[in-house]
């Protein structure tokens, strides 16, 4: 992670947590890593940026874990923090780079997302059906390589392929999944 992109915080590591809380924290976080990543990628798209924001989110979760209300879902709590962290990241990046989606359109996106939560759940269900319809080889390629450049090189080398070939296949898989989900949802592709 680029340290310049990380806000200054008095960081806590899991081993700083009280005895027992450390194990609980890691168990809870590892149980919802996919959800955290999905929420973040819904804002920032690019894989490197997703990793950076995920890292920042994990640090925040760790710092605030002692205030986490055990009566609430950890997943919901974690995803809310992930969404806030992603939004803040976009603001910082817009200032740093001098361009980005406006606050107004970001708010519009947030409103539409909030208003179509159930639809998004249904899309996610259809996504899993479409994913299951891929060949085992394609599923393995996604699992090992999607959004992970170093893994793409290893995967390509193990099969005597160029990394660009694997990247192209991943793009085609993504396109196919988009079309599959849209078809199942009754939308045009």
């Amino acid at each position: 992670m680029d340290p310049a992109r990380l806000p200054q915080t008095d960081t806590t590591t899991p081993s700083d947590l009280p005895l027992g809380a450390e194990a609980e924290f890691l168990r809870l976080v590892s149980g919802c890593m996919g959800d955290l990543r999905r929420v973040i990628a819904g804002f920032v798209l690019n894989g490197h940026d997703v990793d950076d924001v995920l890292q920042e989110t994990l640090l925040k979760l760790c710092e605030n874990f002692e205030s986490y209300d055990r009566d609430r879902s950890f997943r919901v709590w974690g995803c809310a923090i992930a969404a806030n962290t992603a939004r803040n990241f976009l603001k910082r990046e817009r200032l740093r780079r001098g361009f980005g989606l406006s606050d107004e359109i970001q708010q519009q996106i947030a409103k539409v997302r909030a208003g179509t939560h159930e639809l998004a759940e249904l899309r996610n269900e259809k996504f899993r059906e479409c994913l299951a319809a891929l060949s085992t080889e394609q599923q393995e390629m996604v699992w090992r390589c999607y959004g992970r450049e170093s893994q793409i090189k290893d995967w390509a080398a193990s099969r005597g392929l160029a990394a660009s070939t694997v990247s192209g296949r991943l793009r085609r898989v993504r396109k196919r999944l988009v079309a599959c989900v849209n078809r199942k949802m009754g939308a045009f592709t």
Partner: protein, 449 residues
Amino acid sequence: MSDRDARRRTADEIYEIVEEGCDRPLGPEATARLEELLRRDVTAIQDFLGYVDVHASLLAVSATDGPSAVAERIARGVRPAVSRDRNVWRARAAVALTVVAMAGVAAWAPLGLRPAGQPVGRVVALSDGAVWEGDPFAIDDVVGRGDRLALEKGFVTVELADDVVVDLVGPVATSFQPRSVWLSRGFLTGRVGPDGRGFAVRTEDARVVDLGTEFEVHKDYAYGTQVRVLSGHVEATLRDADGEDTKVFDLLAGQAARLDRNSPDDDPQGVIFDFDAVARVVRGAKGKVRRFAGAAKPLSGPVVGLDFRSGVYETAANVLVVPERTGVTLDRPLPLADGSVLEAGVRFDSYLLHFDVGRGSFTGVAGRGSIRFDGSVAAVVTDSADLAATDGPFATAGSVFEPADFRGVDDEDAVRLDAVDGGTVVAFDLNVTAGRALDQFRVLVPSRP
């Protein structure tokens, strides 16, 4: 340009920009154009979120960080200036984290007997997580004449008389008769042995008569009936609204046709249904298992990245049959605890059987059943250490397994390779004991094309 065309063009352009953004940060021009497109209307934002969500879901699928990976990730993210006075994470938490929170055991309601008409077949496979529309059926249930089988999701396999096997993939609605199936909507495959010639699939558009073959049929109201032949030969007849035959097509292996009584003059070769995608779900889930009996259930869903540690992937009273890698060859012989040896150079296909009732409430829960393969079984791996030794070569990518030594079959359980029918049947009776809610074993069969 119509509104629909305009919306499609906007959606296509948004898709192209999202595609670019997935691979590298968007530049100022692309960002400005995206903003402009998203300002057009709410549907543009919905399209945008639809594309983004697929990408986000793919990233989520590819990310299965366990506790130790999370700890390492956090440690990497801590800047040295802050972390130097603190303990460096030592992976000890990961070791302490083999226990995962338990959810309660899902209730499993045994299905009652149904009043059946003349028996025409029986259910031989039912996917995990299948959702019925209307009366549910269970493994081994008899299907009677006139019975309606309708699934919202998942798949079911029905074995009929005369060596006919039908797979139904949800959403689908059917009713069964001797030597024929009425397909109201959805997808089915038929595999018909020599004795089953003449078996028919009927829809409101068509009658598809098998002449010794394997074929697939999809019916929906928008495109009528679509047929694809995988092997052999079928006769597909287009019928009009009065039920009169109007056209007959002979379809051979590799051929497909679309028959739509509402558009009888459409090109019959204009097949648009993605047969491969749907059929692969069933083929991938069942592998070479021909019949699932008792508690055995095929997996429905992606096969990679699954967590099989104790208490994580709970199966209630079902024993999940998970197809693993195919065509695996060992570099060196692998001796097993029972004295047998997995020979090097032999190509194997692997299946993991997973039974985990969770730790909430498991008194009296047993997983009894069997699976029958098309050919002979080569080996059954039941010992915990043997399972761990075979995880590497045979498990699918990203699978996570219980590190403790109780995952294998113990004295409370029985797993046997039945000599009947040339060793094609593996029967099991799995029982959980206090503190050991997990049982697994692995079945290896010779790999054949």
